[in-house]
Every structure is written in structure tokens, then in C-alpha cells.
């Protein structure tokens, strides 16, 4: 063995992982049980979807909008050689995000930076809240 990992069953790390999974920080509302993890925010005109997809090029990510849902698909490849440790997930992944508002599918933009995918989906004109001025009589 070339890289020394102290023990085969790395108990401290397993404990750490258990606590990581159990006590998520209070700012995080949902437990991470689907891959890839997504954050969704919205303002009056756009919906913002962020997703942690490290090590995947934008060309290898397939984003489809269909019938009120956003589908993020991709494939994480793995290297060749003899593995001493493999913790990074590999293979095909898919995540479906339901959008409950009507959107403008022609103006969706997506980019990836430092492994974070950012998708901006503009809401359709009829879904943007409008102020109606009331005239006093």
C-alpha cells in the first residue's frame, strides 16, 4: 500500500459523514437525497436553478424543458487505473424540477462555473405579477 489510510474501515470519517448527513445546516431546508443537489430561487421575472455538478462539461449536460418541468441529465465519467478509493459518484444522473408557473422557453440560459450549473428561466409574461393602479374617485 502506497498511500496510508491508517485503517481500512475509516471510522472517524464514517462518523463525520453520519453527522454531516444528519445535521444539515439550518439554512438548508431539505436533506440531500437526490443527485445532483439543486437550489431553486425566484424573483418576479425569473426562476434560478443552481446545481452542483462538478467535473462535467456543459456539453455533456442535457437540459430539457417539457410540460412544466425542467430535466437535467448527464453522465459522470470515471478514470482508468487501479482505484485505491472511490467516493465520487459516477454514471448517468437525472433530476427533474417541477416548475409550477408558465415560463418563456425560448429565453432559458444555462452556464457552468466551478462545477455549479446555473439555469435562468424567465417567467412567461402572464406569470409576472403586475401592479394595478386603482384610481381614487
Amino acid at each position: 500500500m502506497v498511500i496510508d489510510f491508517s485503517s481500512f474501515y475509516n471510522l472517524p470519517r464514517e462518523l463525520d459523514r453520519f453527522f454531516d448527513e444528519t445535521w444539515r445546516p439550518s439554512t438548508i431546508s431539505q436533506r440531500r437525497n437526490a443527485y445532483p443537489p439543486v437550489n431553486i430561487s425566484e424573483d418576479k421575472t425569473n426562476i434560478y436553478v443552481f446545481s452542483e455538478i462538478p467535473g462535467v462539461e456543459i456539453e455533456d449536460i442535457d437540459i430539457t424543458l417539457s410540460d412544466g418541468s425542467l430535466v437535467i441529465k448527464g453522465n459522470r465519467k470515471h478514470g482508468t487505473g487501479s482505484y485505491y478509493r472511490q467516493e465520487r459518484p459516477t454514471g448517468l444522473f437525472q433530476r427533474v424540477v417541477n416548475l409550477n408557473v408558465s415560463i418563456n422557453p425560448d429565453k432559458v440560459s444555462a452556464k457552468i462555473k466551478d462545477g455549479i450549473l446555473e439555469i435562468v428561466i424567465p417567467k412567461a409574461d402572464e406569470a409576472v405579477p403586475r401592479k394595478i393602479s386603482i384610481k381614487a374617485q
Binding site: V2, R32, S41, D43, R88, G115
Partner: protein
Amino acid sequence: MTSELRKAEAKALPRFSPNTDIIEQQDGFHIYMDMPGVAKKNLVIDLKENDLEISARAEHPRMEGVSNVHLEFGDCEYTRSFTISDVVDRENIKASLKNGVLEMFLPKAEKAKPRKIEIQAG
């Protein structure tokens, strides 16, 4: 009260041990670590004697005027350390950060590379 809470959160970011692959190839070891959201300036790699320590901070830009509908990840810190042995050529360790993945290459020292021993006919 809320501002105090926010301050406390800013100080103590949740700390994670990043998912790591270690692969041995003929020329050396490749270590891949998933660190989404980490920019180059927030990454520190320290080699002290036999300990290779990696620490990084993931920052997600805060957007003003938006309501967060659903959150599954956020700002955090990544730390992990490895022990490397004499087989690794310390002078030539290379690291690169691309697309949220830190790739480190630890070449094997010349003396540790496998070699064929020729048998001389006597």
C-alpha cells in the same frame, strides 16, 4: 437577533470532507476531489513532511431580491488530509482545479518505478 444569527453562521461554515477518488496509474497517483463552488483563490494545498492537507471554501454568490424556494447546498468548507509515502516524488506534485474538481498528480519517484531486470547470460 436574526443579524446575530447570521453573523454566527458566517463564522462557522459547515465543514465537509470532499468526495475523493484515488487512482494509481503507471506513472503515479491521481487524486480527484469534488469541490463544487470553489474558486482557485479559495483553495489551499499544504504539504508538510508526509501530510498533504487540502482546505477550500465554496462560495455561492448571494443574490439580492430573490426568494429561495428550495435549498440543498450552500457555502461550506472542504478539508481533507492525506499521508503520502516516500514513493511519491514530492518535488513534482501537480495540482489543477477545473470545473469544481481538484486534480492532483503525485508522480512516483524514479526509484519506485517498476523496472525490468535484465539477466545476463553467463
